[in-house]
Amino acid sequence: MDKLFKAPPGVLRCGAVKEPVKLPFVFLFILICVSAVLSALSVFSLWGSVDAAQPFTFSYFLLRLPRAAFDTLVPSVVLSIVLLGLRMARHRFSRFLGFAIVLAVGYIVMVNGMIWLSSVAAREKAVRSARPQYLRPLTFLRIGDAEVAPAAVTGGRLAGVLLYEPGRADTRLSVFPGGTAEPAGSGLAVSLSGSGTRRIEGDPEVPGAGVFAPDRFTGLFLRDIATLTTDFERLMREALPQFFAASFALVFLSAASLMLLRLTRWPLANVVLLACAMRGYFSLYHLLATRVTQSMAAVVTDPLLVILFPSAAFLALGLILLLIDILFIPASRWTGGQAA
């Protein structure tokens, strides 16, 4: 009986075959989960910080979802690669095969995902909320340094408006018989008329919406992600080959960085190093895209080439990491330690 179930010589063991086959599906599963969570959070945050004056509906959610998924696709792919890397580090199989799978699947998903989501998100009409709705009768709304509280609100028209300006030397309270409120750029403009006229303009500090404002470090992270996504979106619209190259560079660097998981004999330090590296890549991209490319732009005339410079740097960095992996790091550092 034993002979019946014994694998014939020359055939890979079951476990060794299974993991590479499973890997793309695991990657996709992780990516879908991560992308769904980040997209939903993005829609919630957008609604809370910008559109909270209008009721939240399922149609609003569906309307905003494609754009949110597009905005969060790059970090989703990178995070999925990290999570997949943690799994790969615990399973013994060819690291080059793993690298190739991560690179191929990550690249395909990212490129196709961005193109598809971009086309879906383009159908979304700009639904700008009626920002004056933030003004509620007898409730203070901070706009810039001032606070405004109308006695009555009808659409964008205000009546009996109280204005509080703590910075004024003479009187902080003023009352105006009427006024209007209208969107102004990303903020709100309130024009008040009466004995004199006043115009208050700025971002309204919507009550409760402060909760959606990220802390300093998270804000920087989100800024870096936004820089990268915006650049990729521009490349995608203006020059598809360059977009493919930039996407490849990013996924290549992320996949190559998984070698950091085997860098030392202390797994936690490796994980931390990988997390720091991934976070650092976004900052590096922002730095390269905003500072270095400016000086490059003076030399290089093609703007697309300038945009591609950060991606070229990523590719070079990825190659270095890959070489370090090949030359210096034993393949079984982590799994070998576990076995021991």
Partner: protein
């Protein structure tokens, strides 16, 4: 092993906490700006600011300590038997629960208090700068006495300022020829008589009449009569005492005594006639002339008590001016039918003697924006739900601060008062400053949720803050569990040591976990904030509870999946 894990995690927690606080303290010290905080408060600022930063970044520091401790504690020597992980981790979990309780207390009590302290420091610095500028201007204009007053007020805030002490000495010498301001009298009206019945007042009047103290007899008889106009005996006694007082004036042995007696009588009549302020100043003058006169002392106290019902003393307001308090209070007052009333208060200072206000401004208008009246007053004092706006000097009737009506006016009996709807406690939370809600605990937030929205504050903001305060202890506990599971899962194995490279990497752990834990908290805020704004508090509580439950189960499952082998 059990003790080894707890011991290792505990020692790393201690080390990371101390190091974290030390670094943040230094950061606050380096970032200290004398433009915003007085240099004499540098160390206190660094301590308080360091503490607030420590509380803000406690989660990553805490998570890093646990993860590093756990990852270095499972280094079992090869060959020794493995202990079940449940036994290894049990006491650590209990410790986490205790730490979560401690964190909750620090977050709900210590952190808001530290934030308030920082705000107070900034406010007192701004005031000191203002006083200094005024003092310098007044000195330049030759008004040394007023400048000296400003300098003295400055020194109440910044006692150790050498240059201001020097300036004070200079000003004192410059103002030496001028008369020093009258020393502040001891607070009058302290011996407040308990509320007596008409009968008791009549008895008291009779008692004084038998002793020949006709002023007191008249005073109490009049009070009894005012309390109960049907008391004929009180009226008779008052009339008799009045006659006696008139007779006494004529029977004075010399002109000086007669004049003195006349002055006392005039002051007394002002007091009984209801002109308390004039009576107060008359008795102050008399007390200065006749410090041993018991009648004058008694009625000075009585007049002072009556005056304190309608006004307060300038020295009280000046004394509290440099003290910390709640900034930028703004609210809608109960305005009555078809009228709105908004009140803005620069600062509210609560001390044992009472609640004082600086820079009071109020406006009453109707729905169409027509202003009925608009007043400003430099000082105010809360008295039975009303802000007294008349501030008087204890001895100089020429010095008093009254509300200025910029538009319109009010009846004479209301001009110097402002009835306010919010209670003293509610006033504290009506601050327009950004940290106003952070200062509130969950219980206060829950109570204020009902009352504050009626005064112009948003209920949504209160509810969001309430939800975040409720969730933070759970977030702390769950993060502790996840960090423990992560540290254990990624521990050094097989007798290996992290090595020098690992030691160098250790400071990166809090950095990496800061990214993770801050994103984790941000995710919490987005989900709960969204639920509150979109669906209200009940839905938010349900979602919050479900979220924490799922995360807790997930963290425990992750932990349970670990093995000690």
């Amino acid at each position: 092993m059990n003790r080894a894990l707890l011991g290792r995690v505990g020692s790393f927690l201690f080390a990371f906490y101390v190091l974290g606080f030390g670094v943040l303290f230094l950061w606050a010290l380096v970032g200290f700006s004398p433009q915003t905080i007085l240099p004499s408060q540098r160390w206190m600022y660094a301590l308080v600011r360091g503490f607030t930063l420590f509380m803000e970044y406690l989660l990553p520091i805490h998570a890093a300590a646990i993860a590093v401790g756990a990852s270095l504690s499972g280094n079992r020597m090869t060959g020794s038997p493995a202990e079940p992980f449940s036994r290894v981790v049990s006491s650590t979990l209990v410790t986490f629960l205790l730490l979560s309780i401690a964190y909750t207390l620090a977050f709900e009590i210590g952190y808001p208090a530290a934030l308030r302290r920082l705000e107070d420091m900034q406010a007192s610095t701004a005031m000191a700068r203002q006083l200094r500028a005024q003092a310098e201007l007044l000195q330049k204009n030759g008004d040394y006495r007023s400048s000296l007053d400003m300098v003295e007020r400055y020194l109440l805030i910044d006692r150790d300022s050498r240059d201001m002490t020097q300036m004070k000495v200079t000003l004192e010498s410059q103002a030496a020829r001028k008369e020093a301001p009258a020393p502040a009298r001891s607070p009058a009206g302290a011996d407040q008589a308990p509320t007596l019945s008409a009968q008791a007042l009549v008895e008291k009047a009779k008692y004084y009449a038998t002793r020949g103290d006709w002023f007191s007899a008249h005073y109490y008889a009049q009070k009894a009569s005012a309390l109960d106009p049907r008391r004929i005996d009180a009226l008779q006694l008052a009339s008799e005492a009045s006659q006696k007082i008139s007779g006494l004036a004529a029977s004075q042995p010399d002109a000086a005594s007669a004049r003195t007696f006349q002055e006392k009588r005039d002051a007394y009549l002002q007091l009984t006639g209801g002109n308390f302020l004039a009576a107060y100043y008359s008795f102050v003058r008399l007390a200065a002339k006749y410090p041993r006169d018991t009648d004058v002392a008694t009625y000075l106290g009585e007049a002072s008590r009556e005056v304190s019902k309608v006004s307060f003393f300038l020295d009280e307001a000046r004394r509290v001016e440099p003290m910390p308090g709640t900034q930028q209070i703004l609210f809608f007052n109960a305005g009555g039918q078809d009228a709105l009333e908004a009140v803005a208060i620069g600062r509210m200072i609560q001390i044992r003697e009472g609640t004082y206000f600086l820079d009071v401004e109020a406006v009453r208008y109707d729905g169409s924006g027509r202003v009925v009246w608009h007043l400003t007053a430099p000082y105010g004092k809360l008295e039975n739900g009303t802000i007294l706006l008349r501030c008087i000097d204890r001895s100089d009737p020429g010095v008093q601060f009254l509300p200025v009506y910029l538009t319109g006016s009010r009846p004479a009996q209301e001009r110097n008062f402002l009835a306010v709807q919010p209670s003293e406690e509610e006033l504290r939370y009506l601050s327009a400053s950004p940290n106003a809600l952070a200062d509130m605990g969950p219980v206060e937030l829950w109570r204020m949720r009902e009352s504050l929205p009626g005064m112009g504050r948003s209920r949504a903001a209160l509810t969001v803050e309430l939800m975040m305060k409720l969730v933070m202890p759970f977030a702390f506990l769950i993060l502790s569990l996840i960090s423990l599971a992560m540290g254990w899962a990624f521990r050094v194995r097989g007798g290996a040591r992290p090595g020098a490279f690992g030691v160098i990497l250790t400071p990166l752990v809090p950095v990496a976990l800061a990214v993770f834990s801050l994103l984790y908290l941000y995710g919490h805020r987005v989900i709960l904030g969204f639920t509150v704004l979109a669906f209200g508090l009940t839905a938010a509580v349900i979602v919050g509870a479900a979220l924490e439950l799922v995360l807790l189960v997930g963290a425990l499952t992750l932990l349970a999946g670990q093995s000690s082998a």
